[in-house]
Symmetry: C2
Subunit: 412 residues, 2 copies
């Protein structure tokens, strides 16, 4: 397996550090628009593990350049680790060059032109799924939404369907953290560009009765009690891939995603939107054309550099409500908690990007070993969940040493 | 009197419309960095009143250029109507060329390097007051802080001292409005650059016991009940010139300024500050160097263009607490309310910039007639208040037809 990882930001850098300890691949090429950043990601790998790595410059917005890089380095698997603006050129360049494709965020949505807060327009991933036939006909796989959320959350849902539930009433993805960044008034631990994109788009929700519908941003707030000391965090509906992925493979009456933004972050996003500072349309600032959202990102610290200053844990999981295999009511939260102190000590990566990056590496290892196989555009739900969760939880060196857990809910 | 008005933004444009109806001056030159904007301000004057107006290009940051313009047009009085970054070059250029100077905002403050929220560093206007001796020796006048707030509020305080009170315990300047701008989620009716500057600097307060001290931004919130239907608005301490002006001429135990920002605007300013978007230091956004605060301004509509979409009234005033001339406790709010519908109908200007612009024009008329005279750097308190208030309130054409009022407070 020869892997091209496109993007050497927080997630790409963490992926390099994780994959370096595994033996399943032959070469891991890190590509970035900024060659220095790709080189820096490679240099972050310990010297004794670095021989299978290479850094190259690549413009992810150019599908021809993506295809050229795949051919030049005889790549078999492309891991897309840049922000979702670049999904389509990478997806298409990979198809052209005939490699397997993996991403952690899917092609962008577009709101419904007349009823943006009631009906979806173009949904997340629609542009990819409409090409599924071509991929299937070519016998090639595009594994989409294979980060932590989407990704691990979808694996949890598949596991719940196979092993825990006979009927699923609700798949409620809940993502929250208690991270604080010392020395900053405000320092998001993940790309602000992506966070604005997902939080200010109309959230999509699914029900078997109405299919996919949308709501106003930040709708339906609830306090969710996250495990392992994180505690209660204000969660709101956010547009997320799980809602469009899970119903394609899992029978559930309802699917929704709520992100534990907390009141402070919600307030920040509301104000950015109110002032138009979330916009990606360039404005003229004394002769310079700049996108306000890029200015916001430039004013904030780079999340990839914050690791040593972060304290706390982040949690990804799915609350499943329904009936167990014996038909009794059951409500179960399947989750994965990562402590920043642990990821910093063991990988030198902050926990949020590490938790995102570990999942596609596990998936690549399962593909390399033939445990996961498939053709077409497929979500994580389309593959056996148990081998994935077992490999993640098993201690190193066989596994990745990162356990997941189940919490039975009292309210069931 | 030959007037040079520097700045053709909202206030400069409104000043042209107001002065056009008066006979006390010979020429009114409107200068702006952008000649087209100066020409547009002149064109906004009705054609039959336009013959005494001229538009010129001028860089307000260049004191030599300011002095040259004064000499070239044989200017006797300079009205500074640009944002307070340009106070010092205009002030110095005017001194060099030997004209009378008026402004509506004073030279900028600098926070105390160690204790910014306890002690003032460089106060508003300090850079101007330290030059007062030169102006006085030259027999020339710099009338500073002569807008509405500062300006009219200071005239009210002088009036209260002379005619209403024997002892003043507190001069509490309170500024509030109930303006809404149709069609916008968020559209400040005044320069966001200046609003950020004054609201995020440490607010200054005065007491006869401790002199000038500072607090945290947005400190000491109170609901103030504004008159004429505006109603209760959340007001907080804001750095403002009145607090440094009034104690120089009026004996008061305490002086403070609270601005009726309302909770929504306070929240917006807090978020801008938290994210560093209030900063004037350029950041690098994909190769372009831009100041985040300029980006915020570029994302918002130009306040000068909002007039037709605004509904509501704005109020400026001073609540004076102390003893009346007979020694009995008295608490009196002296105020000036302007309705946007009225300013739009009568002047084509929105109410906030109109209320700012009318005051220096009245002052210029009093200087032209010799009712106000003086030398040195002086605030509005240094001049007789009654002729000012009478001229403002008297119906046109003798006066400006804009009444002020007194409300006795029940709590006294």
């Amino acid at each position: 397996m020869r892997i091209l990882c496109i993007g050497a930001g927080g997630v790409g850098g963490a992926a390099a550090g994780i994959v370096a300890r595994r033996s399943f691949f032959e070469v891991f090429v890190v590509a970035d628009y900024d060659l220095a950043r790709a080189e820096s990601a490679v240099k972050s790998v310990p010297p004794e593990l670095r021989q299978r790595f290479e850094a190259v410059a690549l413009d992810a917005s150019n599908k021809g350049a993506v295809a050229d890089a795949i051919r030049r380095h005889r790549i078999t698997h492309v891991l897309n680790a840049v922000d979702p603006r670049f999904v389509m050129p990478i997806f298409e360049g990979t198809a052209e060059a005939g490699a397997t494709y993996l991403d952690m965020a899917m092609s962008l949505s577009a709101p419904h032109p007349e009823m943006p807060y009631q009906l979806p327009g173009v949904k997340l991933g629609d542009l990819q799924f409409e090409r599924s036939g071509e991929w299937e006909a070519a016998g090639r796989l595009a594994l989409v939404g294979m980060g932590v959320e989407p990704g691990l959350s979808d694996v949890f849902a598949a596991y719940a369907q196979e092993f825990l539930f006979s009927r699923i009433d609700e798949l409620a993805v809940r993502d929250g953290a208690n991270l604080v960044v010392e020395g900053y008034d405000f320092a998001p631990s993940f790309s602000i560009w992506t966070t604005i994109e997902e939080c200010l788009n109309p959230p999509v929700v699914y029900s078997s009765e109405h299919g996919w519908t949308t709501t106003e941003p930040f709708s339906d707030p609830e306090l969710f009690d996250f495990p392992e000391g994180i505690g209660q965090v204000e969660c709101v509906n956010v547009e997320h891939e799980e809602v469009v992925l899970m119903p394609r493979w899992i029978e559930a009456k309802a699917v929704n995603f709520k992100y534990g933004l907390g009141n402070e972050f919600i307030d920040v996003l509301r104000v950015l939107h109110k002032l138009g500072l979330d916009s990606t349309e360039p404005v003229n600032v004394k002769g310079s054309l700049v996108s306000p959202r890029d200015v916001v990102a430039a004013c904030l610290p780079d999340p990839a550099t914050l690791g040593p200053k972060i304290k706390g844990k982040t949690c990804a999981g799915v609350l499943v409500r329904g009936n167990d295999k014996e038909g009794r009511p059951r409500s179960t939260y399947l989750y994965h908690v990562v402590d920043n102190a642990w990821t910093m000590e063991n990988y030198g990566s902050q926990c949020v990007v590490w938790q995102t990056a570990i999942n596609p590496i596990i998936a690549l290892e399962l593909l390399a070993g033939g445990t996961w196989t498939g053709a077409g555009v497929l979500g994580p739900e389309a593959f056996p969940s148990k081998p994935f969760l077992d490999l993640m939880a098993a201690p190193e060196p066989e596994g990745y040493g990162s356990p997941w857990r189940i919490r039975e809910e009292d309210r069931a």
